[in-house]
Symmetry: C2
Subunit: 648 residues, 2 copies
């Protein structure tokens, strides 16, 4: 049964908890004991007798011998096989052994077991961890299997920390993430190849662990050895382990309990579940792994509920969207509707406008002086409303022009003005701000033309046009904005981009609610624009070179691309943005932006990545180009905006 309920929205796989079992040829009993009696949701079960070796079979027949499978497919129903059993490939296989016979036996066995698991329609099989530091032949064989696989997932077991006794040469410590990285590169980032992390009692550094959240981890096998014992004798986990498990839950990673019970529990249990006795194996004993499951369920149920914003954004996680082109295209009503709901954003604007009004008009002139405020890109009116509320709040007199190029939004604006009786204060102008001939100049120019990357919806070009009708000492709200990037591991996003099999998608920036992403270094500023800018020789072209140092305790890392953000200074100390370290809380108008790399870049431990970003301007479009210069130069992406641009 699932670990718990976190509201109807949580359909996450991580509600299900599995158990790793030894080979047992009585599969029905194994299933019934672990599911009905012990309460697990699925088994991680060995499919073939561990003593089987193809080379030991009689070589007389032409493959007429029967393989040593645990009974026939008929011992369970098809739905039992596919819903409750994950196949565990024989752990003795070693395709990179020096011993050729072992290598051949391993390849034969692996292919036979996968074929059998496919026959049973299992959803996934667990591949044993590569034995040494080298895994090319194993990967070659798995890659061949992946080419023709049905929908089954292959989970490669990777120990979170490669312990001494795993390694033949104890001097050589292996970063197990590197093992995974090699394996998946060899298998070309295949989307059906994922990771089952093996959690042991010791944990690597937080930065090292963090890398896994950008990887396709499907399961975490938690060894009973890694549990501590609480005062009442029950298993529990260290704080660091608890935090990690919670991280797994948040990333739809299923927990699997692995190993033998190492906690001898008090005879009587207060847990009512202990009384569930079913069709038990071994003299109706209490399921020995039940206390571990109970503890995992406790951790699951103890999690804080998701805040409202996260719940709203849940369905968008790691889903790539094309950025809006509000200048070329007219937004639809539904889009306005969504953005207008973001009250936090308008509160910030109102605060900024209030401060500007107070600075502009001293108290003694409040009743005599009328401030001319122009909202450029007024949409359906939210910034007009915020301006009028700021005027009311500060007791300043206002004359508002609402300039909007989308004729459909202008219809709504007119009805709003009528409904609110603003006819004497607000003038509606149905015109592109770049071409409007204003009847007078403005004291304050209010706009919200920002994209996820700040200038990517062409706010600079629009405001260059609009500042013609701003007084020389006038104020622009926002007064400046800056874009930011940081390098990320993002297997899911990379695979989604790659699935299009073309260059264009690798040279496009996407709006995306980042979730399964490892942020490898703090973000750094890229381009800044300040308004108004009356300088003669100004240009909206930009060029920035950045170097990101990856913390040395991260170990090696892979960069699939760059997460982009912005921060805008609306007026003086009032800002608004999505850059993670300074993000405005509870604002949902902007997701991050993602700039992919055509070829993921591998970074060695303690080293850095040098990145170049350009903002280029042509006569009819604006675009970005980007590249990696170090450790290995990449091609320059999106040359001349051939794949992705924003139309002027």
């Amino acid at each position: 049964m699932p670990l718990g309920e976190r509201g109807g929205w949580d359909k996450s796989e991580s509600r299900y908890c599995g158990v790793e079992t030894d080979f047992n040829d009585d599969m029905p009993n194994l299933l019934s004991f672990n599911l009905s009696t012990a309460g697990f949701d699925f088994l991680l079960a060995t499919l073939m007798d561990p003593t089987y070796r193809p080379s030991l079979m009689g070589s007389d027949s032409n493959g007429a011998h029967v393989l040593p499978f645990a009974g026939s497919d008929l011992v369970l129903s098809p739905s039992q096989w596919s819903s409750h059993v994950v196949g565990k490939i024989s752990s003795w296989i070693d395709l990179d052994s020096e011993d050729e016979i072992l290598r051949m036996d391993s390849e034969t066995t692996l292919k036979q077991e996968i074929a059998w698991a496919t026959h049973l329609s299992l959803q996934a099989c667990l591949l044993p961890s590569p034995k040494g530091a080298s895994c090319a032949n194993y990967a070659r064989c798995v890659n061949q299997i992946l080419q023709g696989l049905n929908s089954m997932q292959l989970w490669l077991r990777i120990p979170l920390e490669k312990t001494d006794d795993d390694s033949v040469d104890s001097d050589q410590t292996i970063d197990s993430w590197e093992l995974w990285n090699s394996f998946r590169h060899l298998c070309e980032h295949h989307s059906q190849l994922s990771v089952a992390l093996n959690v042991l009692s010791s944990l690597p550094s937080a930065n090292s662990l963090g890398r896994w959240f950008g990887e396709p981890v499907r399961a975490a096998l938690i060894n009973t050895d890694s549990f501590l014992t609480n005062a009442r004798g029950y298993p529990c986990l260290s704080r660091r382990h608890q935090k990690l498990i919670t991280g797994f839950f948040n990333h739809s990673i299923q927990i699997v309990i692995s190993g033998k019970s190492v906690h001898s529990l008090p005879g009587a249990s207060s847990d009512s579940a202990a009384n569930h006795t079913g069709n038990n194996v071994d003299n109706a004993q209490r399921p020995p792994l039940r206390p571990y499951l109970d503890y995992v369920a406790y951790l699951y149920q103890r999690m804080d509920p998701l805040p409202e914003q996260e719940r709203f954004e849940h369905g968008y996680r790691d889903f790539l969207q094309s950025p809006l082109q509000p200048l070329m295209d007219n937004l639809e009503a539904q889009t306005y509707e969504t953005f207008e709901k973001d009250s936090v954003k308008y509160i910030q604007y109102q605060r900024a406008i209030s401060k500007a009004l107070l600075d502009r008009v001293p108290d003694e002139e409040a009743s005599s002086l009328t401030t001319v405020l122009m909202v450029v890109g007024a949409g359906r009116g939210p910034l007009v409303r915020a301006s009028l509320q700021a005027a009311e709040e500060t007791g300043r007199k206002l004359k508002v022009y609402a300039v909007e190029k989308n004729p459909n939004a202008v219809v709504t604006l007119h009805s709003l003005v009528k409904l609110e009786s603003w006819e004497n204060i607000v003038t509606i102008v149905s015109c592109d701000m770049r071409h409007w001939e204003a009847p007078e100049k403005a004291d304050i120019l209010v706009s919200e033309l920002l994209g996820s990357f700040g200038d990517n919806e062409l706010s600079p070009e629009c405001l260059d046009g609009a500042q013609r009708f701003l007084k020389q000492d006038g104020i622009s709200i926002p007064s400046s904005y800056t874009s930011f990037i940081q390098p990320v591991t993002a297997s899911k996003l990379y695979n989604d981009v790659k699935s299009h099999k073309d260059l264009v998608h690798f040279e496009t920036a996407y709006v995306v609610k980042l979730h399964s992403v490892a942020k490898l270094a703090p973000s750094q500023p890229v381009f800044t624009f300040t308004h108004p800018n009356f300088s003669r020789k100004k240009s909206n072209q930009r060029y920035k070179k950045l170097r990101f140092e990856i913390p040395s305790d991260t170990g090696s890392a892979i960069v699939h691309g760059f997460a982009g953000y912005f921060d805008a200074i609306l007026y003086k100390d009032v800002h608004l943005g999505i850059e993670p370290s300074t993000a405005t809380p509870n604002m949902f108008s902007w997701f991050a932006i993602f700039f992919p790399l055509r070829t993921p870049v591998c970074i060695r431990p303690g080293s850095s990545i040098e990145v170049h970003f350009w903002r280029c301007c042509g006569s009819s479009k604006v675009w970005y180009e980007w590249c990696v210069a170090s450790p290995c130069p990449s091609p320059i992406h999106n040359s001349n905006g051939r794949s992705y641009w924003v139309g002027l």
Copy 2:
């Protein structure tokens, strides 16, 4: 005028020698003096006044000012411009300067000059060397230009050795090849971007220099400073320089003399060319750079003529061909014709057969014992002839079966046997050797089923079939064969593969006469097959892991793929093969094979590359898979033979 003639076959660009000139606004005179008077074939001429800076131009006009070009396009005829002038882009430009104005000026100037050169239909422009270690912005700008360029080539000037005074930070020595490598990666290996090497007085190590022969080097600028003075006061070059220049000639690289004359020559010259006085500049002086040109021409004319084999293969240099599939397809008469001309190959076979006959039949039984020899894959009969000649040479009695599956070749075989009156000795069998039921068993099995990579035309599978009718103590000629590979830099081949814009071509091996290739490490053996092989459990699957150490004085390197070869032991000490260190001289039946990499791999100085190769066998095909495991893992190429295979 060209440097000389090396027979009608030599249409190489390297016959032409150019001269680098300073800015001169009298282009007609500059051309006439350097070509008609001094004897050069083309100019490397600055197109724009070196004092021009866009930012210093009046900012009042909207670009209405005239650019400071050296006269109009009318000063020369279109064919003079395109045949005799290579444009030299202003050398002051620095797109990676910290100074933003200089950067902007540089970009503007570069784009203006390229546009002007395009207008003139110049064949090439010389881009100045990047100023520092960083070149990303320069590369971005050049890459943008390349996207829309006509057929013009851009030659990036690269000093062979980055001297101290070039570098701002003298502690930081820059390997100039790395500069080129970054630049071309950023420009995505664009085929119109090539290198003009600047040769100075000191030269890096031979291994370091060797890298350039795998790169698209179009010109070598030789500074007058790098010339020595001979006993008669004339300029000459060091032995190492001479060898380098000869290498350039052999790779169609044009020489350009650069710099001022630094040799004060004796008044009278014995060289008749010194008497050519034309329409001279500067009071009809003797052209000061003429002695340098004469010396280069002397080096050109002094070169050894190409051996016959090289001349035969000249037209195939670096031209990718699909390997033959002689098992699936029947060869055409023309193909037989070509291969039968390779007398060296048949001499080796005859030697091997003679030795085998002598071992098989002692002198005292020579007249009584008849050896049964079967030629499997007899084609049109050259190995039958070699066998009969061996019998004659050794005085042994022979009975020959000529087995051939191609019915068209069998027609020719019949007529050959009739013509030569071999009817009593030779039996022709029109059958696939894998299915023939022989009437008796053979003492000697002779075959030539080898591809460039040894087993790649399925010799192992064919001989496995044929050895059914070989006596247990019988001899197979060849008795074994081994494939070899080595990592290479091969820009031309990589670009040719890339031009297909699909995965299939990157996962195919090609037969190719390797020429513009840098061999980065000695070749190593891959797969070996020995015949006959009567073992029960034999398999023709193979797996090999290889590590190549790149010599540390090479510096960094790029690997575009692997060159493959074979060596076959025909019998005892008689071998035959194309592995470079042991290649059979004057044999032309096989070119090398080339296994490309989807993404070129960069190797740091003094480090190594680990490669894995597999030979995989299915029921209807045989194929190779390959990958790089270190320094960075590549995808496994050609999984399941999806792109390239040999049909059984």
